[in-house]
Symmetry: none
Subunit: 221 residues, 4 copies
DNA sequence: AATGAATGAGCCTTCATTCAT
DNA sequence: GATGAATGAAGGCTCATTCAT
C-alpha cells in the first residue's frame, strides 16, 4: 500500500480528471489548472506525466476509447451466426451504452466536439476508429440490404442508423464545480434506464427504413 | 449616400466574417483579430460595434438564424393542406438546404458546436429556436403517427428523423487561410447537388420507420 | 506634442531598454519583465510591438548596429588616398569608440555573447556584418603586407589586429538596478578617455607585427 | 572493486557531462535534464552530488581548470633560464593547446561566456586564476620590455599578446544531439594541427610588437 | 465612426529543487 | 548511493478589452 507517491495512480487520476474536463469543456477551454485541481495534483503534473496538453489529450482519448471498446463491444458479444437484425440491435445498444456510461460517456462528448470543431490532434487515431466501426456497420447493412445494394445505398443507410444513436444525450446533474449554466436543455436526453426502450425504437425504426430501401433497390433492377 | 464609412455596412462585414470564423473554429477558438482581419477592419471594431465578444456571438447567431429562417422556411412554402408526407419531405429538404448553403451553412456548424460544447451565451435564443422547430415537427409527426401516439412516441420519432438531417455535412474547400488540417475526413459529406437524393432517402427511410412505429402503436391498443 | 500614446516613441524606449538588458544579461537571462520595467511600459508591450522576444532581439541588434555603423564608420572618414597605416589606425580607433560608447557599447557585449554562445537568431545578419568588416580589414592588410601575402597571412594578421581591439572592455558603474555582483574585475577595462592611448598602442604594436610578417613573407620567396 | 554504483565515478561522469553542456550552452541555457541525460544518470543526481546547479557549475570549473593547468602548464615545462622569447612562445603555445583540447577546450568557451556574461558564481576563483596568469605574463613581459617599462606598458602589451591567443576558436563537429545551427561560421577557427603555425605567428607578431613598444619606451627617457 | 496603442489576466510550459523511497 | 515523483516559481505569449485620439 503506497502512502504518497505512485506514478501510475497519479497518471490515472489525471487521465480521469482530463476525460471529465475535456469532455465537458472541450480541448481549448479546458485548462491544466482545472484538470489538475480535479485530480488533486499540482498544475505541473500534466507536463510531468504527459509532456504537453496535446499529449494528455491524445492519451485521454486513447485511454477512454480502449476502455469503451472493451466494455461495450459493438458486436454485443453476439456470434457471427446471429441474425443481421439482432446484430444491428446489438450495435445500436452498444453505442447507446457508451453514451450512457456515467464516466466514459464523456468520450462521446469528446467525439462530438472533435467532429464539430476538430483539434487536429486525433486525426489518425480518429480516422482509424471511424473506419473500424464503419466496416462493421457496412457489412451488417450489406446483409440487410442484399447483394444489389450499391455503396451509396449502404452509406445512406449507415447515416440513417448511426445518426440516430449519436443524437442521444445523457441527462444527469452537471459535474460538481460546474456553474450549471453550460448544458442547455436539449431534447433527446435520456438516462441509462431508457437504453432498452431507445434501442428498441431505433432498431425497429431502422429495420423498417432499411426494408423500404431494399424494396426500392429491388424495384430498380 | 455616405462618402466615408458607413456604420451599418461595417457592422455587416463584421457579422459576415464572424459567422465564417465562429462557424469554423467555434466561439473560444475564434479571436477578435482573425474576425476583424477577415472583415478588413481594426481589431477594436468588435468592441466598438458589439461591446464584447459574447455580444458579437449572439448577434452573429441571430443575424444568421433570421436569414436562414427566411431563406429556407421549414414548411417549404407548402400550404397547410399538403399531405403530412409532403410536409415531412419539405422539412427534411429545408434542413438540408440550410446545411448546404455556402455561407449560412456555417450556422449549422455553430449549432453542432453549441450542442457539443455550449457557450451558455445562447441559452434563451437557442431554446426558443428549438421549441419553434420542435412544435412544427411534432405536429407533423402527430398527423403521421395518429392520435394514439404518446408524447414519447412523438419524441422518439422526432429524434429519428431530425438526427438524420443533422448528421449531414457539407463538403467543400476549407476557407482560405486555413491550414487545411482542421477538417477530418468524416463520412457523410455531401454537396448541394446531393440534396435531392439525400432528401429522398431520408424521407422514405423515415416514412417507413414511422409507419412501423404506427403499427406498433396500433397493436398496443 | 503627444501626451500619452505614441507608438514610435514607445518602440524606441523598448529598444533602448532591450539593448541595455540584453547587453548586460544576454538573450536568455533577460526577461520581458525587466526590459519593460526599464522602458516604463507593460510587460505585454514587447509582444505588442515586436511579436516575440526573438524578434525584439533581432530588432535591437539591427537598430543598434545601424546606429553604430553610422556614428563610427570603420574608415574613420578617411579618404581612400590615406596611407594604409593611417587607415589601420582609423579602424582600430573606430572599433574602440564603438566599445566605449556609453549606450551603444552594449552591442559589443551582445556581440561577444553571440560569439561565445550563439542564440542562432542572428545567423545571417551576423554573418553579413562580419563579412563586411573582414573585407575592409583584409584589403587594408593586403596593402600593408604586399602582393605576395597569402590568404593565410592575411587572416592571421587580421586575427592579431582585431582581437586586440575586441579584448578591450569598458569600465563604468553597473546599470542601476543591478546587484553589482555581476561584472567581475577583469583587466583591460578602460574608459573613453583612454581611447587615444589605446589606439596608439594597438596600432603601433600591430604595425610592427605586420612589418615582421611582411619580412617573413619576402624572405620566403 | 565496487559491484554496483561507485559514487566517485558517477560524480565524475556528471562533471564531464556538465563541462560539455555548460561549455556549449552556457550556465543559464544548460539544464539539469540535459547534463544528466548525457551522464546517463537521473535528473536528481545533480542535487544529490552537488546540492545545486550553482555548485555543480563551480565544481565543473574547478575540476576542469585544475586538469588544464596540469596538462598544459603555462611555462611549458621550460626552466627559468630559458630566454624570455622562448618563454613567451611556450605560454602562447600552452594557451592554444588548452583551446584545442578535445574535451577540456570547453573550459575556454566557459571562460569566454563568463567574461561576456558573468554568472557571478566564479567571482573569486576566476579572479585568482586570472591573477596567477597575469603575474606570469607580466613578469615575462617585464623581461622583454626592460626595467623602464611602466605598469601601463606592461598591461597594454599583455592585452596585445593574450587577446590574440584567446581569439582563436576550435573547429570540429558539433556535439552529438546538437541541431548544428548554434555555432555560427566565425573566422579564426583552427584545429589542433594548426597550433604550431598559430603559435609561430602570434609569437613573432607579438615579439615584433613588443620590440616596437620597447623602442618607444627607451625613446621616452 | 473608427483606430492604434496599451494593458492585465490567464494560459502552457520549463526547470531547479525537494521528498520519500 | 541513487531515483522517480512531485512541486512552485517564473517565463513567454495570447487575447479580450480599454482609452485617447
Amino acid at each position: 500500500m503506497r502512502l504518497r507517491k505512485d506514478g501510475e495512480a497519479t497518471r490515472r487520476r489525471i487521465l480521469d480528471a482530463a476525460l471529465e474536463v475535456f469532455g465537458t469543456k472541450g480541448y481549448h477551454d479546458a485548462t491544466h489548472a482545472e484538470i489538475c485541481a480535479q485530480a488533486g495534483v499540482n498544475t505541473s503534473a500534466v507536463n510531468y506525466h504527459f509532456t504537453s496538453k496535446e499529449n494528455l489529450y491524445r492519451a485521454t482519448w486513447e485511454h477512454a476509447a480502449k476502455a469503451v471498446e472493451c466494455l461495450y463491444p459493438l458486436d454485443g458479444g453476439l456470434g457471427p451466426d446471429a441474425s443481421p437484425a439482432d446484430r444491428l440491435r446489438a450495435q445500436v445498444r452498444a453505442i447507446l451504452d457508451r453514451v450512457m456510461d456515467p464516466r466514459l460517456g464523456q468520450i462521446h462528448n469528446l467525439r462530438m466536439m472533435e467532429m464539430a470543431n476538430p483539434t487536429g490532434f486525433l486525426h489518425d487515431v480518429f480516422a482509424s476508429w471511424l473506419n473500424e466501426h464503419r466496416r462493421l456497420t457496412l457489412s451488417n447493412l450489406r446483409d440487410l440490404l442484399g447483394a444489389q445494394a450499391t455503396q451509396e445505398d449502404l452509406e445512406l443507410c449507415e447515416l440513417s442508423v448511426i445518426s440516430q444513436c449519436r443524437a442521444v444525450h445523457k441527462t444527469g446533474p452537471p459535474p460538481k464545480g460546474s456553474q450549471g449554466t453550460r448544458r442547455p436543455s436539449l431534447p433527446w436526453r435520456f438516462n441509462a434506464a431508457d437504453s432498452d426502450r431507445l434501442a428498441d425504437h431505433i432498431t425497429s425504426f431502422s429495420l423498417a427504413g432499411i426494408a423500404a430501401v431494399r424494396q426500392q433497390i429491388e424495384a430498380r433492377s
